[in-house]
Symmetry: C2
Amino acid sequence: MNNILVHQDAVNADLNITQRLASMHAADAIELLNELELTDIIDIFNEMPLEHAVLILDQPELHSAPAIIKSLPAAKARDILDEMSIDRVTDIFQEFGPEDRARLAAGLGPETTAALRKLLRYPPHTAGSLMTTEFVSVPSGWTVAQTLQHIREVERSRETIYAIYVIDPATKVLLRTVALRRLISSEPEASILSVGRDVAPVVVTPLTDQEDVARLFRKHDLLAVPVVTDNNQVIGIVTVDDVIDTMTQEMTEDTLKFGGMEALNKPYMQIGFFQMIHKRAGWLGILLLGEMLTASAMQHFEGELEKAVVLTLFIPLIMSSGGNSGSQATSLLIRALALQDLRLKDWWRVALREIPTGLVLGSFLGLIGVARIAAWQMLGLYDYGQHWQLVAATVGAALVGIVTFGSLVGSMLPFAMQRLGFDPASASAPFVATLVDVTGLVIYFSIALVILSGTLL
Amino acid sequence: MNNILVHQDAVNADLNITQRLASMHAADAIELLNELELTDIIDIFNEMPLEHAVLILDQPELHSAPAIIKSLPAAKARDILDEMSIDRVTDIFQEFGPEDRARLAAGLGPETTAALRKLLRYPPHTAGSLMTTEFVSVPSGWTVAQTLQHIREVERSRETIYAIYVIDPATKVLLRTVALRRLISSEPEASILSVGRDVAPVVVTPLTDQEDVARLFRKHDLLAVPVVTDNNQVIGIVTVDDVIDTMTQEMTEDTLKFGGMEALNKPYMQIGFFQMIHKRAGWLGILLLGEMLTASAMQHFEGELEKAVVLTLFIPLIMSSGGNSGSQATSLLIRALALQDLRLKDWWRVALREIPTGLVLGSFLGLIGVARIAAWQMLGLYDYGQHWQLVAATVGAALVGIVTFGSLVGSMLPFAMQRLGFDPASASAPFVATLVDVTGLVIYFSIALVILSGTLL
């Protein structure tokens, strides 16, 4: 008796959830689904009307879409795939193994199959990998009224209808991009070519990097951009919602890289323990090997260290200041290069700015350092020995040198990365700090040898 | 004669540039204008047709817009301001002093004046500061055909027409958001309320943070979002192009903050020398003061340092490993909190993951450290003394402790920032490194005291 009641409750709960999902925004429904177990999600999708299932599976925010599609009955899965946005179907197919791809592709409609084959070709992070083939294009001979009628007919199956691509009927070349807003306020009998300003359409190629695509959207306030072949024939479009997702993903990747680790594109709690170790250990190991040069540098100055132990007290302070000024300069230049405020050829203008900037900042820190040593000595908090003024001078001068060096290295590193064909955002704060540490020690001890020779050294 | 020729050339050049600008994308025209001197730009605007001047001044990418408006004849400036997007006019007025505001506001149309007065009220970084009042709204009694006719009439003066807001005529409350794409494929005689899905509209308030606005656009794939009062009356909209600009600006700010400096929102080369110093010196100084605690810590272990100078050789290596692991953890958690993959209340789940992660990563680095010391000793590259095995064990154990501590501190800092009401992105890599350095030294020397006591110490 009790069992039956429990079962009835579960059925009611299921009914409730399907009804609740139907009345929600797709995005909210997805947040709810992301919390559930896969088996429950599949039960829900088995009950859900086709149109609603398509609406939800079309959103990249649903974590388990490939698993859901795989687990649904093949006929149902194919119906859904045929109705979904082709760019999203492509993303899901990217996650399948060869068997699942073959099994599910078998029964798809010819249009979906052709588009899928085309889109699966493009490497990730390119316009081709973001694009969809579901756009509106019309021949250049049409009128505004004909175009509007066509749009009404195809609206349901297109990713966006707010940008209309006007094509030369003979050569299939893109002639003009027309905004729907201009179209609906134009005379119905006017030629489609008379709508809007006569400027060359903004286009990208399938291999354009997604960061460059985002830059074009920002620059031209686009809602969509056509992807064209070398002959200027439109093969797809990238829409603004995908660009926003891309920007968010790039921001995560860049932050993690700047923090000194490999990019991850899963939520923190969903990354497996060993995967997390793997993504972090690589750079930590490399940085440790680099930092070992500091031990070598210090071994080289072993004699000085033994004679003047007081010098070791300031090693962490001096080294970290170099790393900090380097980290500042690197973050500045990563963004300046990403925003194209500066180009590769501007490196020397930056160097000419960073050197005086570093000298001023270093002098500021140097003064604080000297004041600290003098204060402790005079207040009797610590005794830096009879030559404490010379020790203070050494620390002050070393800070000037190291902060200047840090600013210069930190600002040049993103240029060097770009020159070598890497993303300038790969220049991480820990990497800069490591570069600066080794040289910083050499600068410190060299200055000490000059100032303290004949007294402490 | 020569002078006249030169003058003629200049006139031709001017003509050329005005013509060239007219045939360009607004964004490209702006890139060209941004390279010119202000006086030349003003000459060009004096000649430019009103519509084109409005198109160009409407783009936030034009650097000198406030200066241009101020320098144009007042009547011309007002004509332009009356035609421009009201959100852009607000941005420009934000940059004016009180006199310029009064002078230019005086002759503006009553609609512009009212909207401007409203928009100038909202603080920066809020939906109110991003919004425009130029949206399409229709009463709920209208049909699809009536709505389309209205859109055709007002299209030119609206920021977007792709989202239409359906309002209760009595209470002015927002009932429904309708997408233009659904509208144009609906029956003309249908009620506007029958178009699209019946779900509660996604809305923001004027004080919603711009990061939350961006999050909603990403989640719901929006092109615009209505800004509503507490009574759910629409007072404006935020459009996707402004959200993309905001995301880019946030990304720059977050990168600079993570790099350990104050945010700047001007291109690198346009920041004055002393402004640059000012933005960098503050954090560098604070970090230096924090790092001075390392000198205090080392003074405390002075006796140990004198007895075992060999220990100093590994200070930079050990400290930097703690900073690096902390920087990794901080970057991970900044993004997890920004993407709302994790909430404040999840801090203990993160701590429970970071401790074992840190132990594994620390053991990995510790093994490398021990191997390095053993290799140098056995290959005769350096002599770490008769107790070199114990020195190696000290370095290895210290790396385990410090990397674990760094991972924990680095991951908790963004939570602490958020708890204290700051942006988690304010937890910079240099800040984490400084926090870890001081404790790292204490860990190192404490481990040394345990392992080396009775031999070296």
